[in-house]
């Protein structure tokens, strides 16, 4: 204990299109920590992130989301964004006719972060005059998302499979951007926290996590050292996780 909790999810039950997806999820992310979320497709990982961000299609049936001590369970997404939560979309939509530069200005509000400088640093300045996400490749979409987040500068970053559809070369850049976002290159105490969904675990080579979770069928089954959990999944698959936990239950 002693670490200040930035995000607390308490016994969260969530329904999507009439189907119960999350069944009693609880987790706590302290200030400055990055947590990783593992799980099969359809296990509820994305639902958890979307619910934390507050999208209306994700209906909270029970439980609470506490951010910086405030109950935000029923706040709309923009109120959560204002309080310091940011999300990286896995498949962001195209916003036709709106230049990326204009979008970044809106993300920045008036926080003084230099759009040009950041874009140049990550080799993305030629995209500033293009429509948001229009015709972007997989890697470019990820960079666009991360650039928006870097400028939005949230305290809690929710990353949904940041490495999917990205080639090795771009993975380096994306890793670098996430490191920046989560202050991995600065001395403690860090103030930024993250929750990362990953399938491949590749991203953890660039962005070390402090704690890992395995989600199975809408519930967090175990938590522990993210590297160990990931290696276990790689060797034995999620079946082993289930049986392992069943053994604990017995």
């Amino acid at each position: 204990m002693g670490k200040e909790a930035l995000l607390e999810v308490k016994d969260l039950w969530v329904e999507v299109e009439g189907k119960e997806v999350l069944k009693g999820v609880s987790l706590t992310i302290p200030k400055g920590e990055t947590h990783a979320l593992f799980g099969r497709n359809g296990s509820g990982k994305t639902t958890l992130l979307m619910t934390i961000m507050g999208f209306p299609a994700y209906k909270v049936r029970h439980g609470q989301i506490i951010f910086k001590g405030e109950d935000i369970t029923h706040l709309p997404p923009y109120e959560r964004a204002k309080r310091g939560i940011g999300i990286m979309f896995q498949r962001p939509p195209t916003i036709r006719g709106v230049k990326l530069r204009e979008m970044l200005k809106l993300c920045a509000k008036e926080n003084g972060i230099k759009i040009e400088k950041l874009a140049r640093e990550f080799g993305f300045e030629s995209f500033l005059e293009r429509d948001v996400n229009r015709g972007f490749s997989g890697g470019e979409l990820k960079k666009s998302e991360l650039l928006q987040l870097l400028i939005q500068d949230p305290e809690l970053v929710l990353l949904d499979e940041p490495e999917s559809g990205v080639d090795m070369e771009n993975l380096q850049v994306i890793g670098k951007m996430i490191r920046r976002l989560l202050q991995k290159d600065i001395h403690r105490p860090r103030t930024k926290s993250g929750l990362i969904i990953t399938h491949t675990g590749f991203i953890l080579q660039f962005v070390p996590a402090d704690l890992g979770y395995v989600m199975i069928d809408g519930t967090i089954y175990c938590q522990g050292n993210p590297q160990e959990i990931f290696e276990g999944i790689q060797k034995h698959g999620y079946e082993e996780c289930i049986s392992c936990l069943r053994r604990i239950e017995e």
Binding site: P76, Y78, A81, I95, R96, G97, L106
Partner: protein, 389 residues
């Protein structure tokens, strides 16, 4: 007139003659409120330009031009000055076309005459403004533009009303001639009032290698506008592009489109329309006629419904008379994708802010070849309209 009657054709005799208007003698008589209104449609007194023209009701109150190769006159003066103007007068628009052209032929108020001499290419736009200053008048305008061989003209024309005028009627006959390898970029921004009726009647003839680019913008309140400019591409390689950016507020009835007749080999045409209904009715028409081989023509209509009250109707038509033509159209009408709104909300925009940004983006159509200065004026008009959405 009640909303129900908006589709009924306005009658010239229901309005007073613009000649009875309270017409100023010079622009100095215009009030700061009037200037603010003119600025909204892109009339920038300080912006660099090659020529200026302002007609209030029936009288030309300001007419000034800079370069040698440009002629800019009230059309009534040009008719006296040039006998040869008869070769262009009612030649691209028939005087007998309808009751409005007939009324204009019988009793003309005025209009502009612009001629760009051969080889003259101008950097800055020429700015014209047709302004209704007096309530309940019918303004009957007849404009002529002649862009001679290898010449180029960028025209921005703004039409608006006095801030105190709610009701009126504007008839604008325009005949444009683009000679061999000439280029005319015509950008029209309208800003009317609740009970204003508007009937532009435009005919364009483009010769070999010539280019005509038209952009029409109306984003504010109006009773009804009906316009279907007709453009003939008569020489090989001639090109025409018609873009329209339209918002139909509640109570407005907008019937807008373009017809391009491709009459020579290698001609190309494009019609692009973006319309948003916030409760009004918008008809987006497009008619492309392939009368020669090896032509290419495309029509694109996109509509965004922001309310269940109004209507958007996309009415594309393609006529082909040769096997070797490339003609296509695409049309889509729908609402804003929820996914896009939520995406922007996650970045900190409220639902209203997200919606208005998406609408602005939707209207932000880029017309190929449109000069930056004109694009800037259009962007300003859209940004202004966004505040009111």
């Amino acid at each position: 007139m009640s909303e129900k009657n908006r589709r009924i054709e306005p009658r010239v005799e229901d309005f007073r003659s613009a000649k009875e208007g309270q017409i100023p003698r010079s622009v100095e008589e215009l009030t700061p409120e009037e200037w603010a209104r003119l600025k909204d449609v892109g009339i920038e007194p300080e912006a660099p330009k090659e020529g200026e023209f302002l007609q209030a009701d029936a009288r030309v109150v300001h007419c000034r031009k800079l370069p040698e190769g440009l002629e800019l006159l009230p059309v009534t003066e040009a008719l006296k000055k040039y006998d040869w103007l008869a070769d262009y007068w009612w030649k691209a628009v028939p005087a007998e076309k309808d009751q409005y052209t007939k009324a204009t032929a019988e009793d003309l108020d005025d209009g502009y005459f612009i001629r760009v001499l051969p080889g003259t290419r101008m950097i800055y736009p020429v700015q014209t403004c047709l302004y209704i200053r007096t309530p309940d008048v019918v303004q009957k305008v007849h404009n002529i533009i002649i862009v001679e061989e290898d010449a180029e003209l960028n025209l921005i024309t703004a039409c608006t009303t006095h801030p105190g005028v709610r009701s009126g009627f504007h008839i604008g006959v325009s005949e444009f001639y683009v000679k061999r390898n000439g280029k005319l970029t015509f950008t029209m921004i309208h800003n009317w009032a609740e009970e204003i009726y508007v009937r532009p009647r435009t005919g364009v003839i483009v010769e070999e290698g010539g280019t005509y680019i038209s952009t029409y913008v109306t984003l504010q309140q109006v009773a009804s506008i009906q316009s279907m400019p007709s453009c003939r591409l008569v020489g090989p390689g001639a090109r025409a592009t018609f873009g329209s950016v339209v918002v139909a507020p509640e109570g407005a009835y907008l019937d807008l489109g373009a017809l391009v007749s491709l009459e020579a080999p290698g001609t190309r045409a494009e019609i692009i329309s973006r319309s948003v209904s916030t409760g009004g009715e918008s008809l987006a028409r497009g008619h492309l006629i392939g009368k020669a081989p090896e032509i290419k023509a495309h029509l694109e209509c996109q509509g965004l419904m922001l309310s269940d009250k109004g209507a958007i109707k996309a009415i594309p038509q393609l006529d082909a008379y040769y096997a070797n033509v490339d003609m296509s159209h695409e049309a889509a009408v729908g609402k804003i994708a929820q996914e896009e709104i939520e995406y922007l909300m996650a970045r900190g925009l409220s639902e209203e802010e997200a919606t208005s940004l998406i609408v602005q983006g939707f209207l932000n159509v880029r017309i190929e070849g449109l000069p930056a200065e004109l694009q800037k004026r259009i962007d300003q008009a859209i940004a202004l309209a966004r505040e009111g959405l």
